[in-house]
Subunit: 730 residues, 2 copies
């Protein structure tokens, strides 16, 4: 049998050939890939031996498979044999050397390969190299093919399915790489049995293999519990292998499998992204990963080809392609490129404005959710609010249930620290996770949440955290004036129920949606007595003003001794009477935060990360904490986005915000009532604290001899302040 | 008389009209200006009363004149009366209100205006508004013109030349705005006497006026002693008024005046810019000002029109226009736009690669200099090294003689803090200079220099600093292997001579030019005894590794009590034996610094700014200091630029550098000898420490029983290490 290209037919190749030199997304992609591959082809071929994780050898093998994968297709598309020659020669070198390398010494629980320190990477190598081989095999002599098959591919297949058989059927994101690699290599070798076992599991009994994986790894919403960073890593073999199955096992009807789980999970992944295309760094992740990642490019192309509606490719998908400025070099990508070209001819493609979405978690979707609310301001800028009220994200999850992040004007404002790891930076512990990831980045205090008594949620116990999850209360995004979500976390601190309700409010007098945040701590189920509640905010930029006096410490000590507090310098602090105001400048935008608690004591503490960091592993970043001591407590705060600063052009407008105050009127098991005052209006928000409330539940709450009543989860009242009466009140 | 456009003839207007809607630089400029002006025209007209510096009122008046200035010309170019109507109506409002405003209350030594807190801003207003008026006067009724002339322009002219006559003839950068405003307004009113007094001074005796200013403000090199930040501010009225004089007083032959001082000083300004177009923040300046500033756009256009060589506009000027992506909306800008279009048709315009240049200071060029050395790496990236060995930059100058900054790969690596000021941010002290500007940003320790005994240069005494300057030793930039400059500062610390010699070396095995820095402190003229020398480095990014043990402090104290040390936290420190290595990651690039001193003791101290900063006025930025105690001392260090890191794509290459060591072989009054070892070669550099050396001076220096000899200022020897013998040495 003569191996044929696995992912391309002759007629598809001809269509791609016609894109050469054009300025379509596909044309640009081909040109960019040619440039990259040719630059790499200038270097002498190298198949190095063992090296450190993140070191030269690791990176070189990764580059080798990356460029072989591109070169294989470029050979077909351009018909230029130089690309095929590159693949042939490099494969020959691997065939010569591969079996001379022993297995790496095992350093942790991951099985090791001959090229890489963990077989995950060897799976990647095999998947991409098999695809490349399938493109150029027709140009190779029988002898050349035999060397590659016998001295690389067959030993690898044997390793993955026999030596490491126990690992092959594991339901895990790494497992997708394993089955995709084995299935595709089997096809390339004409050994269909490997494709069968990859799709259906070694024992063909649904306990392993690709179909079991995609059935079990994702929640009904499509969300992947390890978060978007790991999701985008798994999405690449998922989509590539789905396309292979689509072409070579049409009987599976893979794109309709389980109500279209492939499309569903791609959509879920895309719907987490910030408006600029970056993924929120949820659950122990990089802060810089975004939709331009190659895996997401493949996913967007596959989605465009197989899940476009009858009206064609969705505007938001086109918007994402605009950010990516590239497509998958494949007929799926050509579909997207063509749609983009057609749509561009009619009007300029805008940035994506993905709808708000609540993504449930757990196999049945009953283990809480991740909430994503988006709202546009008058100029079209998108504010995005993210709250985690789902599951703990497996072994390396953060302890941040009810944590939020907030993004607008192109930047994350209430920020996620992200993981403490310098990926592939060999002198930084081989690019692996650093100790400070556990001691700081995953702790509750490192997030935008409330830390009780200087402890971490679930006491930093992963097993305990895995056994609990958030409880969704409401997710309401239909209104134009107010969007919001609320959830409980009643199992994360012993003796406490916690409820967080976050909203975006469109007020006529404000430039951007106002973030409103109510965080309630209920200690009546065993947490009686006074507690310390630290409501923390990770920001970036320069403090511009406050409405209270504070003292900058003359010498710096840590804020505490454990649970992340040992890494925070106590930079400055001040007592607050009533509502605290903290205003800062982040790049070109001013932010003003006003916060209060229901207790009559409060303190603002300004911190900076970097204490007890003997190897400079942490970034030095500021935060401020509203600390309040009491029994059951409600924190209420708003964050206003306003003005513009440009240092280069020496412009500054609206450096002070419009919001004047926020006040806790009261709270009880029934509900919470707060009042916001701006220069123009008085805004009352009443929300339900009853976990079993519905849209028709009646609420009545008596506070200060006044009865507040509303139906359903919450109520918003906006009253314009009469300038006359406002004057009289003074 | 009917007022005609001052800066445009009818035929020029026709040429500009033809650019409408094109994608030339001029076409794009016009479109962008239309968009900006039209957005502003949407707002209701407003001529507000007194306000705070940096506040709404201040900004509004500034916006008003900015957009009137553009609208006047847009009316002529587009022939659309809406732009003229905007100017007419806004001028009418000013005419109605101007005299009803009293003069601002004077808060410092600056005279105040009716619109602004200092007349500098009122000068700007008058210059731009007079130009706008000249464009639209023909569309106004006699009554409208009369109101503007009698109720704004004449009172302003009177204020500037009578009430504040004592200030009008001052030779100062602010004075250029004064004379330009008065001269141009006089022309607009047909009162040529104001033009005469603006050009020749009130008394027409060369002690004041534009010609005296441009003769005296700039050094023969064209350098302006307050640095590029203030220079770019002065360059706008300089160029605008020069063009006015060119057109209305051709007898002055302004562009050839004093051997072309206008062109000379424009070129000097441009030649200071970093490769990305930003200006080094020399002398108490903003870090974000660059050639895209409107003043520099005007200057580049004027230069292109009047100083192009017979071969047309210089490639570097075109490169700057590429960064600016705009031109002055004037025939001068059209000249540049046309040249750009013609050159683009032949080949892609590259980024500018300005030649290395030494810009002398002082009226005769004898007060030291500012040195700028640029070198390209193999991929075309430009490294730029800047050293200050000139004058103290007037009242707000930094105390940083012999300070350096270093830039490559698109970022400043050895960094200048810049001023401590949030320009126009009203809640930050009205946008004015903050206390920490004096107590930190201008102190020697805030710069990349050596601080002796925790004191500031010249004891932070401005008068003393104004009386001394650096002494240039050599500036050599002809060689391809090594470029360098050296200077003395013998009057800045009592009892000490200081010499700094900085080089960029092109070594075959390195990706980028290697920065070599020799800083010698000679205490033999009265500074006998042991002293503490702090050789400091302001960097940005994350420490990756060191070659010595250090202790991160468990509590933080300030590094000292005065001269800026009170603002530095002592974060960590460690003793060093031999050569210290500090490696860090700044964005996508690794930097490795190796440093040693001739003393047998050394310590590295890691600091962070922000101590004793009660209002968060300082930015939190890291630095490290090599501290060495001894008598006369030589510091020798190299900074290697290497590798690539991309978090998003999880790529890391060459995280460790090639340079292995640097060693001080010895130093004396005759010379210094150091040796650098890389993985491939041993590099010996010998340099002259004799202030009266020439290119032919013979140097002999005996160190460790070996004689080092060379002719001229320095000598470079590169010896490949024999791999055999290197092996044997182990």
């Amino acid at each position: 049998m003569m191996t044929q290209p696995i992912l391309l037919t002759d007629s598809e190749i001809e269509l791609l050939h016609k894109e050469l030199g054009t300025d379509t997304l596909m044309g640009k992609t081909i040109t960019a890939n040619q440039k990259d591959v040719e630059a790499f082809m200038q270097l002498p071929l190298d198949v190095p031996g063992h090296g450190e994780a993140g070191g030269y050898e690791h990176n070189r093998h990764k580059q080798n498979y990356t460029y072989m994968n591109l070169a294989g297709r470029l050979f077909l598309i351009t018909k230029d044999d130089k690309y095929a020659a590159f693949v042939r020669e490099l494969l020959a070198l691997y065939a010569e050397k591969y079996l001379t390398f022993d297995f790496h010494v095992q350093k942790n629980t991951n099985p090791t390969g001959r090229l890489f320190h963990q077989i995950l990477n060897e799976h990647c190598w095999l998947m991409f190299t098999s695809l490349a081989y399938s493109c150029v095999a027709s140009t190779m002599s029988e002898e050349e093919r035999q060397a590659v098959v016998e001295r690389i591919f067959e030993p690898m297949l044997d390793m993955f399915t026999v030596k490491y058989a126990h690992d092959f059927d594991r339901i895990h994101n790494h497992g997708i790489w394993a089955v995709a690699a084995v299935g595709i290599c089997g096809l390339a070798l004409g050994k269909r049995e490997y494709l069968e076992m990859s799709v259906y599991g070694l024992d063909r009994n649904d306990t392993g293999g690709f179909l079991a994986q995609i059935s079990q790894l994702f929640a009904p919403s499509g969300y992947y519990m390890e978060g978007p960073y790991y999701h985008r890593y798994a999405i690449r073999p998922t989509c590539v292998f789905a396309e292979v199955i689509h072409r070579h096992m049409p009987e599976v009807d893979i794109y309709n499998y389980k109500n279209g789980v492939i499309g569903n999970t791609v959509q879920a992944l895309l719907s987490t992204a910030y408006p600029n295309g970056e993924f929120p760094a949820m659950n122990d992740a990089s802060r810089t990963m975004g939709i331009t990642d190659m895996g997401v490019q493949v996913a967007v192309s596959v989605y465009s080809k197989h899940y476009a509606s009858e009206n064609g490719v969705d505007q938001n998908i086109l918007g994402m392609a605009k950010i990516q400025d590239a497509v998958w070099m494949h007929p799926c990508g050509l579909e997207l490129s063509n749609a983009y070209k057609a749509a561009s001819a009619e009007q300029e493609i805008g940035m994506p404005f993905w709808p708000s979405v609540e993504l449930n978690e757990g196999p049945e979707g009953h283990s809480g959710a991740q909430g994503f609310i988006r709202m546009q301001d008058k100029k079209g800028d998108v504010s995005q609010l993210v709250m985690n009220y789902g599951q703990h994200g497996m072994g390396h999850g953060n302890f941040d249930t009810l944590g939020i992040t907030f993004f607008n004007r192109g930047q994350e404002v209430l920020r996620e620290y992200g993981f403490c790891r310098w990926v592939n930076v060999e002198p930084k512990f081989g690019g692996r996770y650093l100790d400070e990831n556990k001691s700081y980045a995953r702790q509750t205090i490192a997030h935008n949440a409330v830390t009780i008594d200087e402890q971490c949620q679930n006491n930093f116990d992963v097993d305990r955290a895995d056994s609990v999850h958030g409880l969704p209360h409401f997710f309401k995004v239909e209104d134009t004036a107010i969007n919001g979500m609320s959830a409980f976390a009643n199992d994360h601190y012993q003796g406490f129920n916690m409820q967080r309700s976050v909203f975006m409010l469109n007020l006529e007098e404000l430039e951007s949606p106002l973030l409103l945040d109510l965080y309630r701590l209920d200690s009546t189920k065993g947490g009686e007595g006074e507690h310390q509640y630290d409501y923390s905010h990770q920001y970036e930029g320069q403090i511009v003003r406050t409405n209270f006096e504070y003292v900058a410490n003359k010498e710096l000590n840590t804020l505490g001794n454990d649970f992340g507090y040992q890494h925070l310098w106590n930079v400055a602090s001040g007592e607050v009477n009533g509502t605290a105001l903290v205003s800062w400048l982040q790049n070109n935008t001013y932010y003003t935060w006003l916060g209060a608690s229901s207790n009559d004591n409060a303190e603002i503490i300004f911190t900076r990360s970097g204490a007890n960091d003997p190897s400079f592993n942490l970034r030095s970043e500021p935060a401020f904490i509203l600390r309040s001591k009491g029994e059951s407590t409600l924190f209420a705060s708003v964050l206003e986005t306003h003005g513009y600063f440009n240092e280069e052009f020496e412009q500054s407008v609206s450096a002070r915000g419009e919001v004047q105050n926020i006040e806790v009127i009261g709270h009880s098991a029934m509900g919470s009532v707060i009042e916001i005052t701006t220069k123009k209006s008085r805004v009352t928000v009443m929300i339900s604290n009853q976990i079993d409330a519905t849209d028709t539940t009646e609420h009545n709450i008596e506070l200060n001899d006044k009865t507040y009543s509303w139906t359903g989860f919450y109520s918003l009242e906006v009253n314009l302040i009469n300038p006359m009466s406002a004057e009289l009140e003074k």
